[in-house]
Subunit: 353 residues, 2 copies
């Protein structure tokens, strides 16, 4: 697999329809691990960094990712390709923008991605459509075991897995889901719900994780606790209690909109459709904001002209690196806005296909 | 003709394409006249008012308006019908909202309308498509002569025709044109142009004349001078010098937009089309604002999916009284917004016709 292949289609987690995917876009579990007998990266010199990279890249490619996996050395990759990986949620922004020997290994279907030399030596991520935390936990647990056959991770009997940042010490686990909450936004209940989530020590972030704003009504919610509780407890609490509750709030808000303000609801949905299928120049944020309303319309059965696959794909393909990859050209902001509008018109106007 | 017939179709001046109608929607000349030997209305009692009304209504219907003309007694007319007359530019807002014996007589094609007992005893108006002031002047002059065969107007050898407000004394003429200046608005040159017009002692008003704001980039420009110059001079100056200059500015702005910002221009035009053909609830002002961009697109040959007739009709039919007439029901604001959106979708989506 080549990195250019990525840009041509969405990853499996985005094309499938997992449980509760009317609200839960995707589930993600990641584990933070560090090699025993090596310094944390903040203290490692260039040579040690390269040593860690090689050791982990080999182990990961053999034990974790299967055939046709892709190993990307971030040092040797263009800015555009690194941006592409961020847009696909395969690396963090920090990892894309950092310096030094570092990389990411990606399975062909993008359901598994392993960042090497990000904040920790290893960040192992499993991604799936909808709310599927138990399945992900089984999967990532097996991968972790397989890796431990090959390498030894820094582990302390009392504290658990040791990590560069104390917030990850213990299980090294972070469980997160990407939620689509447009109705809570429209009914102005979103702040209340997010405040409640924060009160439960959950982190609420935007579309691209740490330090990013919520765009297009997408919210990434993740657990903050890694110490003092088992992985199973964390996943049980998060996946069976907290997230279903938020999902129910969103569905109640959708129902309330449909009952009490059907015209205003359809107006939002159809104006979004009208603008996206007619604009001649449009930015990323506005596109995502309007696509969010289109997705809401599809999920509520009020917009049948667009398939959920098309909407999901567009969330990826309107983004700047994807656009440039598709057009095989570096483009300035204005050119991108024009190309983005063209793409949207092509995909949303059935007659012009 | 009945008043309900009006609501079914636009007047002739709106369906025809007069000279320079890419920028000049319509031309209008009106004359203010008062009967000799009668008090001005501010001093006339109810009985004198009725006497004036009857005398003028008879004269006007016989001499001025031809067959199938309509005489509307404003006292005996519903609020909705009075609003309809305002929306069609057949009476002023003031006349619609006033009290006492008053009326309007309208020719079948709406090119002539005579308000009785507005500010003056008689306000005679001729309306045509595009820029046609000479033709209008010939026409209104003949009507004035015909009326003077029947009634005697208050006239002073030195001052000319006497009127209730000193600003109308002399010729009693007001010449005005309705201009569509969307490109000057988009290029931010509109204020400069309107300031220049005001410096030339011209009045600049909105879509419904005195005291109304410009909506949808429509500006009514009229002469302020009635004293000390002949009608022919006023019309010559206004129609052959001032207005063509503003028209040229607008056309230059359109050309500049097409050359320098074609995508931004098309974006305005097509977003307007996208919103109007998809919205589920929409107010009058937003509709007129967006229809203005659609009209620009049609006139510039950039939007071929909508005919100029459809656009022109919609400018009338989206307004509140027209909407209610069409739906044969009194409607609250929210209902109107929903019905307006339905009308726009019906007219702008060829497939759904």
């Amino acid at each position: 697999m080549l990195i250019d292949d990525l840009a041509k289609r969405p990853g499996r987690w985005l094309t499938q329809e997992g449980p509760r995917s009317d609200v839960v876009i995707s589930s993600r579990i990641r584990l933070a691990r560090n090699l025993e007998n090596h310094r944390f990266l903040s203290r490692a010199d260039d040579s040690e960094r390269r040593h860690i990279y090689r050791a982990l890249a080999d182990a990961v490619m053999e034990c974790v990712l299967g055939e046709e996996a892709l190993l990307v050395s971030m040092e040797e990759t263009t800015v555009l390709d690194r941006q592409l990986l961020v847009e696909r949620h395969l690396v963090s922004r920090q990892h894309a923008e950092a310096e030094g020997c570092r990389g990411v290994a990606i399975s062909a279907d993008e359901s598994r991605a392993v960042m090497i030399n990000e904040e920790d030596h290893l960040r192992l991520q499993c991604l799936s459509s909808g709310l599927q935390l138990d399945e992900l936990w089984t999967e990532i647990n097996q991968l972790d075991d397989a890796l431990e056959q090959r390498v030894r991770f820094a582990f302390h009997e009392q504290y658990g897995y040791l990590t560069a940042c104390p917030t990850n010490v213990g299980t090294g686990i972070r469980v997160s889901v990407m939620l689509h909450l447009p109705a809570l936004k429209l009914t102005n209940e979103i702040d209340k719900v997010l405040r409640a989530a924060r009160d439960m020590k959950l982190a609420v972030r935007g579309l691209f994780g740490e330090g990013t704003d919520a765009i297009g009504d997408f919210f990434q919610i993740s657990n903050q606790t890694t110490l003092g509780r088992s992985e199973a407890e964390i996943i049980e609490d998060f996946g069976c209690r907290v997230i279903p509750k938020i999902v129910d709030y969103e569905l109640a808000a959708r129902k309330s909109l449909a009952q009490n303000q059907p015209y205003q609801l359809d107006d939002r949905i159809w104006r979004a459709h009208g603008i996206l299928s007619n604009a001649r120049t449009i930015g990323t944020e506005e596109s995502l904001f309007l696509l969010s309303h289109i997705r809401l319309g599809i999920q509520m059965g009020r917009l049948k002209e667009v398939s959920i696959e098309t909407a999901n794909e567009l969330f990826l393909f309107v983004q700047r690196a994807h656009l440039q990859k598709k057009n095989s050209a570096a483009m300035e902001g204005e050119q991108r806005s024009i190309a983005r509008a063209e793409l949207l018109r092509d995909c949303l106007n059935p007659s012009s296909r």
